[in-house]
Symmetry: D2
């Protein structure tokens, strides 16, 4: 929800399970844990070994599944997906997993990420007479596989993956096999777990905790995992590169209880707050975090700085889709929306306000104003990540470059714009220190949106490098 305010949006979350009587039901719970990664649509495709059946819909997981008949979704194998989309409206056809039926063998795909050369591949396929049904990049992979022969095998998938450029985590299901694939730089997260004898694959480990499964290992960059009744097998479809896990997964996107590439997110955020306290201390009375995603960092800042942590901002839990936005007139009269200040806490205080990031700056300005009109004497904004100055091509729907406040203004100007008494960002070094604990575990991160260093480039359409 804050996502909408901020303008940072994850595209998707994927979940798969192999070998459990209640595969569809467990997928429901798994997707539930991944709900924060996409609220526009959800779905499951289940296989009983012979037929693939789908249940999909627009809306939250609960809405989509409230009328689901799990008895009809029988089968020991399932893949699921939650989707964020900006294309709005009647995009039911784009809700994943995409299911492609044929007389020979059916195929379902669930995808988190972004295929950079999708437009070009789509044109090539259409020129050969293929008809694509969705506007989703994901469908391109299905056609690449099918054009390579009727059967879907490790080989046809690997060849198809080698034609696409981008950041991706794929789950692919046919009647008797499930495949999991990660892009060569490992930009998107994908983990493997076990629940009794069953295998589980998910975008975040919080989905394992949700269903009582335990973490086994990460899917590796450039790895294609095949799961069947014969067990689990691994192929490498690309040279293993240095992992470049998206730093925003730690900063904002993932759930605090997940371990992303074996680093706990809450703990990494708390360390970001601690690093920030070291780098940018403030002469203040209390530390206040912007709920929900900045609470961990705020606690870290408080602990390191010795200042008391206080609940100076409260979030209304009942603001939902159907909330009637106050008119401009009422907003000016003081009607609040999602966040409200706790006057009894902030009145007369010098506040360190911790937020995880600033995108356009509008939300930050509103929160600073809100604190000040509730009586805060000073508001020192501390951002627990480096400033975002570059667009993301790897699956995060971020604002365009001319909307990014840090791409257009200096820190001092931003301080003026948002009306704070001081502003400071965590350094890139500080961020890395907070996240990467064990280099031997290949815990590198992608900071392209902060630094402009893009680890993956589409041929001929190289992302523009911006120098400051």
């Amino acid at each position: 929800m804050l996502a909408e305010i901020k303008g940072i949006n994850e595209e998707c979350g994927v979940f798969g399970i192999w070998g459990h009587e209640k595969a569809a039901e467990l997928t429901y719970y798994g997707l539930h844990a991944l709900q924060h990664r996409g609220q526009e649509g959800a779905g499951v495709v289940v296989s009983d070994g012979e037929v693939l059946k789908a249940h999909k819909g627009l809306g939250l997981v609960n809405e989509v599944f409230k009328d689901a008949n799990f008895a009809e979704l029988s089968g020991r194998v399932a893949v699921g997906h939650v989707r964020y989309t900006t294309q709005g409206g009647s995009s039911l056809e784009n809700v994943q997993p995409l299911l492609f039926r044929s007389q020979a063998a059916s195929l379902a795909l669930a995808h988190n990420g972004n295929i950079m050369n999708a437009h070009q591949l789509r044109g090539e396929l259409e020129n050969m007479g293929s008809i694509l049904q969705t506007t989703s990049d994901t469908e391109v992979l299905a056609h690449l596989i099918k054009r390579d022969g009727q059967d879907t095998t490790t080989e046809t998938i690997a060849r198809a993956l080698n034609k696409i450029v981008g950041a991706y985590a794929f789950l692919i299901l046919k009647e008797d096999k499930m495949f999991a694939a990660l892009d060569p730089s490992g930009i998107r997260p994908l983990s493997i777990g076990r629940l009794g004898d069953a295998y589980v694959v998910a975008s975040e480990t919080c989905a394992f905790d949700q269903i009582g499964a335990t973490f086994v290992r990460e899917v590796l960059p450039g790895e294609l995992v095949t799961i069947s009744d014969a067990g689990i097998e691994s192929e490498r479809f690309a040279i293993r590169e240095q992992r470049k896990m998206c730093a925003m997964e730690y900063v904002y996107l993932s759930r605090p209880d997940s371990d992303v590439n074996r680093v706990n997110v809450h703990a990494s955020r708390k360390r970001m707050g601690m690093e920030l306290a070291k780098e940018a201390p403030a002469n203040a009375d209390i530390v206040v975090g912007v709920p929900d995603s900045s609470i961990s960092a705020a606690i870290g800042y408080a602990e390191e700085s010795g200042l008391p942590y206080e609940m100076g901002i409260i979030k209304n839990r009942y603001v939902g889709r159907t909330f009637i936005q106050p008119s401009q007139e009422l907003r000016e009269q003081g009607v609040k929306m999602k966040l409200a200040p706790v006057r009894g806490i902030v009145e007369g205080k010098r506040i360190v306000m911790i937020d995880d990031s600033i995108v356009r700056g509008t939300t930050s300005r509103r929160i600073v104003q809100m604190l000040k009109s509730a009586g805060a004497k000073e508001v020192h904004v501390r951002i627990a990540s480096p400033s975002i100055q570059h667009p993301c091509y790897y699956g995060i729907d971020m604002s365009t470059r001319n909307e990014l406040i840090a791409a257009n203004y200096t820190v001092n100007e931003i301080c003026d714009i948002i009306g704070a008494d001081s502003v400071a960002y965590l350094s890139e070094k500080g961020l890395e220190k907070a996240i990467v604990k064990d280099k031997s575990l290949n815990q590198g991160i992608c900071t392209a949106c902060m630094t402009g260093n893009y680890p993956v480039k589409e041929q001929g359409q190289t992302p523009v490098m911006v120098t400051h």
Copy 2:
């Protein structure tokens, strides 16, 4: 939501506004801030000086109002209500404000509390030939007023209030006047604020903050306030008694950003945690609060004890009404519902787990187990309020006595039952110290559910006093 798990439920929240062009819309926002006090139904009655119009429905405020046409709800005066009810089903007729039309003068009522002698009064009214339409206690007051003459005046209301026994905060609206009344012991909260020239009355001050209004004063115990275009007037319909504000408003029910009887709720909870740390220290590594209501107390405990506060339990924000409860079988296999442990935090730790209260004990047991199976070495449960051993007759739908774990077991037995390593409650003295800051402000509290000392008794049906 946690309410459902715990079995503590507030009956209602009321909101009124006099003298603003956007009365109905502001009531919508005000009710939104009070949503936590009742999720089963909501409504507004607006007066344009001549006609009372109602918009009511079952469900959350957002659901009820999503189809509302505010243009049709024109008028400068409105009262609103959010309702919690256990009577379920087709209880639309019981959704408040109740609106009674007549050829002479109409009447609307919004009520938070409980009328203890409602059953007896209802029988008397029916014997005289009156027909009551709802099963709501609130309707009784309307009939008492109407039986006293067609017009609704300060006098007829005062006479009617003197016939009822209980804890209540009433808002009463006729075409050209609004009345606010509080029971003689002031058990339920009710505050007066201003928004420009308009008057606002609400169960909690967070509703003032939501719409940009400012707090003026409390409605006093036994006071009947009359608001009209002539301004605000005060009558006393009962002798002023020592205020006995419901302690559970601080412990659990009210929003942390509200000031209840001029005491900030978050701050009082933090002090409960601090007192608890003094009274019942624990040999542990980290402090963890059960979200959401126990976070403030946990931070207080951490600050006082010097132990780090950690986010060891996470709450899934997307569990809603339509969440499909996992079957017993899946729950046993480890499928989680609303709360999940953060394994990366709790593993190998000795934990102080702070909760605000224990009602039946089932939830506490589940959370302790959850922490232990996520690897917690020890779990020391600390409850930031005294144990609940007695039923509430004043408007909180608590479990019956034989369900109250503390009414049937000693602290040691409870510790065994919930599987904790130690259990301790805050003392009554500690609770009072945390809440009551200024005796001169008449800040007494009702602790009947903890102590059995009932400040208000129905004649002949005195609440049973239980001695241990």
Copy 3:
């Protein structure tokens, strides 16, 4: 539906059953057969001998009952109601049967008709301190009964009925008795039937056929029938007068398969057509009826005149509530709504167009134009009832007097206005001949809307007699 076009609307239909295990379900089917008498709301109240339970809603019977749980509506006794209303919107509170609960004995009422002195009685009740919840006339009767003592008996009902003036058929239910009452002139229909050992009461006999019950007898004017496990008893609460059954029940309102006061409606309509053919022959090629209500009369006209009956106008069965009305522009371009001409039939023909009545004349004009633009050479309009010139005070929501075309124009003027080649109405004598077959059966009719002879008048508020 045609009702909306015409402006003649029945207020309601009632159904009751005593002594069948499936009382609520059979009421559903009975109401289904009465659906044409009211499409705005429906409901049932069922008694299991101890408690009255209601299921009510806005919309068609199917819509209201699609989520009904008949298992919860257990009981061997039920009354039901379908409602037509012009008050629109959120009138759920007015949907009948009205159910009044009390600690002593509950009471449910279902009503078809109109209480002429309701406003005055309501004022008197309110002055005595009663609160009325609905804007429905029916509630007045409940208060009159309850004011007379807590228990509802034959005597209290009879006394209450004697206070009201109007045309009515009432079904009254308490836990252990059902009452059926008809106004002293018997203006509205109400029949008694049997289904095995069970008693059934309904506005029309088609409800008996629907459930397989058989007709026993009419409820008599001024009769109060009491049904209980002791059997059926009859009281007379008013002097028996000459029956004055509403003639419009035969002309338009009732279903053709019903027997109204022992006269089959289809057969009476066919005789109206035959009488019309004798009184007003036409030089024409074919006879065409306006569907659905005029088909019987058209067949009668054809049979008597020897002209062939043809399906020259067709009615679209799928035009429903959600049909999007064509804009004025599209209508002018020829887009049709509910009725369409059959060009292959009417082209080049001289047509006798049979309709049952003309209210405002707008529909007749539209149909004549439609036939002519489909190629009809001549259109001779023949109306199978006398012209409507006076308002109805007995429960039919007809247009007001200044909207009634026949109250303001001569037959020749009407002919010009609707663009017909000739117009003729059935005479009052012809109507009576077609309906009344057996004077010994007390088969008199009320023709007040045609003649201005009102059989029932409210004291001091006598309906205005109009002389032409």
Copy 4:
């Protein structure tokens, strides 16, 4: 609706319009007139010359379009479709018009009929690597066209049509052209009309009357019509054969006000009744038709025989999708469903009961029983078409052969089974006489389901010829 009882179901209706500002709205009204041809889904695709936009949904036309925003469906060209389907459930993907987008040129298809070699063509396409998204035969045509080159032209369509075998009426839309095609035997109906300067194409002429358009001509067997801003052009993609219009269109499927292949349906049905009266007279008192589809034939029978036509069976207009079917127990007690006898008419009478066809015989038996238990002395069943003994391969979802009563029993046996006093069918000669008025107009009919003479056969899968 009777369709469901009978087991005869038309697959679809199509509608197209070229050159009108309100193309989408007029399509809504046109589809409305075709609603009887399919109630499971409906849709429109509109072109503004550059982009194709779709609005589709499950349910009746009214339901699908009630939330349509016609302002967003702007464009001067549209094709629409109503669909009947037995595949039930979540078949939204199969709702037509199917829309295939591509970077080069999009394509929409609406289809009425059946492609007999669809399964084989689908297999061939999949083997070449195409992915088909629906289970609809219609999609096959799109792939055949697209495989032939990116652009859709008269040539690519003609080549594709020559690969398919079956009965079909197609509307094909691309950004700047609309195509209409009919199978070489002209088994399915398709007519061209004009509305001002606009061209209209529809399955039935009642859609022209609905919007005020006038009939121009039939699309001819084996003709491919191209409509664009340059006007209308005609190509022949197959040798013109003797037209074999589906006889069931006259007997049962089409609306009585439509002209099918220039023969009015109501008039043809009346003539069927007249022929039947000549071929199979009955010693009876009255003629009764089974509503709605047999009324015309009954009037014809009455006129020819001189017996009076009476409304002896009535159809409840309010039985819809949400009607709760009575349990077996209640049905046995006499609870009726859709049809009810008019006791006042049928009691003591010898009845000629006219029906249009018998499929499984269950409905006929039920109606005969119903009439007899309402007191009919004799029931002589006369069927206004020859007996159905063979399955249909041309788009009508009829029962399979072992369900067809006439394929398994003699007329005398059928008479016994349905409990009639006599049964007679119209002869094939009589049917042809009633339908074919002008041989020069190529008015031949397909009577395959009655005679087993299949005009179109799939190679290698020739429909089995059954000889009796």
